[in-house]
């Protein structure tokens, strides 16, 4: 099973770029926190390029049940048959070279339960990112994925004693098929889009979570996704099931070092909130400016259930992500709170989908985007309320902030409401940080960069307050770094 790196995929000598955290306004994202990597020997490597053999290799390494291999191979066919969605999305997608990507890299199959057991370089990586510290301070459980597999996974005893399951996708499907198989690939079918099909073929890692009826997990569960290798594709798969009356908050963070070649991150995240359950899913994405981040996220909310996506996209070259909620049961509620910051050379194509499928369902979308320099942000929204329903409500707000005249922002809201027993509200605004505002702040002693980041933080302040404290502090810090780099 063990393979060595061939000459094309030799890992470059480890760079210690973090020692010299220069800010590059052209490539945008500041990577002083995430831009470092360690040289790795991978015990498991599916090689470069995608074929049936790649899929068989991944499935074999994981010792999967035959139905999963079947599922993967079918998905591969779907992926190959689907065209790139460039008839509506950016042509930049054509720059992804699927033959140059490495689809599976790992050091081992089983995540460690203590940080002491985690190999040194991987442990150092996560320590630099502050994960073990956050875990001690305020998390109920942590999973730390390094390239294709989790290197570390642990859940506090107190939480696991309540029957909460928090494992990676391989373990979830192998150890608890009776729980997960029923919903796996049901919220987001393989053929939903080209990238959900790709993920279904080569998925690895991610979190499978089950919260039993009535259990309210007090502290958040967190996953951290780290890409370390060059020319790599990360395809984690997450499935969260909150049983009747259960509550859980899940947070994910992501970083990668800056490479000159492109990296692909394509996840599928499925949420199932059964009757009266509540799931809050928080993302702070800070990928480096070479990452294509193409993610499908959707939840199903049953009767009286509540699903809330808080989605924050700061980094990447191109992000396409429209978290959605299917409001399947009466009085279900769906929310998407979205913050996107597009710096020079970045395109944040984000939004939300709300599919109302029962009476008295409500949905709320608040999207704020910030475009800096040549950065481009796009909002795409889909709200669907069919004619036969009554008492449904949607509120959509999208606000864009432009930091200079080259910035670009587009809004494509699609709201279909049929029948006269439902109500929708839609507001959109575009504003600019003007010279007078910056001068005013500078006159009080703030530097131009400080003034810019204060203006941006003010713009998203009402949304940032909905984050858990630790994350809103982190968000503010990331924005400060971004804005400092954009001045000059």
């Amino acid at each position: 099973m063990k393979t060595s790196n061939d000459s094309e995929t030799v890992i470059a000598p480890a760079e210690e770029a973090a020692a010299n955290p220069t800010i590059n306004p052209v490539s945008g994202i500041d990577q002083s926190s995430g831009n470092f990597r360690y040289d790795m020997e991978y015990a498991f490597d599916a090689g470069t390029g995608l074929s049936e053999n790649t899929v068989r290799y991944i499935s074999g390494v994981k010792k999967e049940a035959p139905w999963i291999l079947e599922f993967r191979l079918k998905a591969l066919k779907t992926f190959l048959s689907k065209p790139m969605p460039t008839h509506w999305a950016t042509k930049d997608l054509e720059n992804i070279n699927f033959d140059k990507i490495r689809y599976y890299l790992s050091q081992g199959q089983k995540p460690k339960r203590t940080w002491d057991e985690v190999p040194d370089d991987i442990k150092k990586t996560f320590e630099r990112l502050g994960i073990p510290e956050q875990e001690r301070k305020f998390l109920a459980g942590v999973e730390a994925q390094f390239d294709s597999e989790a290197a570390y996974s642990n859940i506090k005893d107190l939480v696991s004693k309540q029957g909460v399951i928090f494992v990676n996708s391989t373990e979830g499907l192998r150890e608890h098929p009776e729980i997960f198989k029923k919903f796996f690939g049901k919220v987001i079918p393989t053929g939903d889009n080209k990238f959900s099909a790709l993920n279904s073929a080569v998925f690895s890692g991610g979190s499978f979570i089950y919260v039993p009826p009535g259990v309210k997990v007090a502290q958040p569960l967190q996953a951290y996704f780290r890409i370390n290798a060059e020319n790599f594709g990360q395809f984690e798969r997450t499935l969260i099931i909150a049983d009747e009356g259960a509550e859980v908050t899940y947070m994910e963070g992501c970083t990668a070092p800056k490479f000159s070649t492109s990296t692909l991150h394509s996840a599928v995240v499925e949420l199932v909130a059964l009757k009266g359950a509540k799931i809050q899913y928080i993302t702070v994405q800070n990928w480096s400016a070479n990452v294509f981040n193409l993610v499908t996220k959707r939840g199903i909310a049953h009767e009286m259930a509540h699903i809330k996506w808080i989605d924050c996209n700061i980094g990447s070259r191109l992000t396409m992500k429209y978290p959605g909620v299917v409001l399947k049961g009466r009085k279900a509620r769906g929310e998407v709170i979205s913050i996107a910051l597009a710096n020079d050379g970045q395109h944040q194509d984000t939004g939300a989908k709300m599919i109302h499928a029962a009476d008295e369902t409500t949905s709320n979308i608040v999207a704020k985007s910030i475009s800096v320099g040549q950065g481009r942000s796009t909002y795409r929204g889909l709200v669907h309320i069919p004619k036969h329903l009554k008492g449904c409500k949607n509120n959509t707000e999208c606000d864009a902030l432009l930091i200079n005249t080259n910035s670009r922002t587009d809004t494509y809201p699609a709201i279909t409401v049929r029948g006269d027993r439902n109500s929708v509200q839609h507001e959109a605004s575009v504003s600019k940080v003007n010279e007078e505002m910056i001068f005013y702040m500078q006159q009080r002693g703030l530097t131009e960069g400080q003034a810019m980041s204060l203006a941006v933080n003010g713009f998203i302040n009402d949304l940032a307050r909905q984050f858990p404290m630790e994350y809103s502090v982190e968000l503010k810090r990331l924005i400060d770094l971004e804005m400092e780099g954009s001045v000059g």
Binding site: M437, Y440, Q443, R444, G445, L446, T447, L454, G458, D462
Partner: protein
């Protein structure tokens, strides 16, 4: 004791020269009122001193304690002790007054030094009590949706907290009713003292009933054409600016 020297200052907006040889020295402890008709360059003067990018200083100099500040960025000038109370303060949505002031004070500290939060709030509340400002005020976003009077009060509070060496007050009285005017004037009077120099720009004598200046200057066509004590302001009130314009025209004709 500090001095702000404005030496033969010429300021242009684009190609158009607005300030044409303005000279004045303000020492700490002094309050100078600059009066004049509209369009005579009063606001341009204050913005140019503060370093607004739209205003080009074509010749002359501005010095604090003998050091020219013209090469400095607006924020460096601010940290060197220049405070501009704006005629039309900008709105900053989502940024509370408390956080804004905290950021402004933090920016004045050395790298690695942290503002003591509890001492900061203690001082903030002291100043607010002094200025008779409701404590709820500081949780509102800076100038966002404020009335004219609230905006001016917010400027005065910032001035009290930042303790500048020199305050340039640009038409602080405009848009204020008499109660608001009194509150603003009381605030400035409370800050008057040996460490503060004030340049009070106003169109009307009215403000000078409340803030009594040490010196009054009449500005016309981009420069000072007449200086005197507070009685000059009363004379202007009685005779109007036409008197100055006429005198200026005659002086030019000679």
């Amino acid at each position: 004791m500090s001095s702000l020297e404005i030496k033969n200052l010429h300021v242009a907006i684009g190609e158009k020269e607005i300030v044409k040889g303005f000279t004045l020295t303000i020492n700490s402890g002094e309050v100078h009122a600059v009066m004049g008709p509209n369009g005579t360059g009063k606001s341009t003067l204050s913005k140019a001193i503060a370093g607004h990018p739209d205003y080009t200083i074509t010749s002359g100099d501005v010095l604090i304690d003998g050091q020219s500040i013209l090469e400095q960025e607006p924020d460096e000038r601010a940290r060197a002790g220049i405070f501009l109370a704006f005629q039309y303060p900008s709105e900053i949505p989502g940024v509370s007054i408390a956080n804004f002031l905290r950021g402004a004070l933090q920016a004045r500290m050395a790298e690695g030094e942290e503002l003591d939060a509890s001492a900061y709030y203690k001082r903030l509340y002291q100043k607010m009590d002094l200025l008779k400002i409701d404590r709820k005020f500081t949780s509102r976003s800076v100038n966002d949706g404020f009335s004219g009077g609230e905006k001016k009060r917010c400027e005065i509070l910032q001035m009290a907290m930042l303790e500048p060496k020199f305050a340039l007050m640009d038409e602080t009285d405009s848009g204020l009713d008499i109660d608001a005017l009194r509150i603003v004037a009381d605030g400035v009077n409370a800050m008057r003292g040996p460490t503060l120099g004030v340049l009070l720009i106003t169109h009307y004598q009215r403000l000078l009933d409340y803030i009594v200046p040490d010196h009054v200057h009449v500005m016309y066509d981009g420069r000072i054409v007449k200086s005197g004590d507070k009685s000059l302001a009363l004379e202007l009130e009685a005779k109007g600016y036409d008197w100055v314009k006429k005198e200026f025209a005659e002086a030019n004709a000679r």
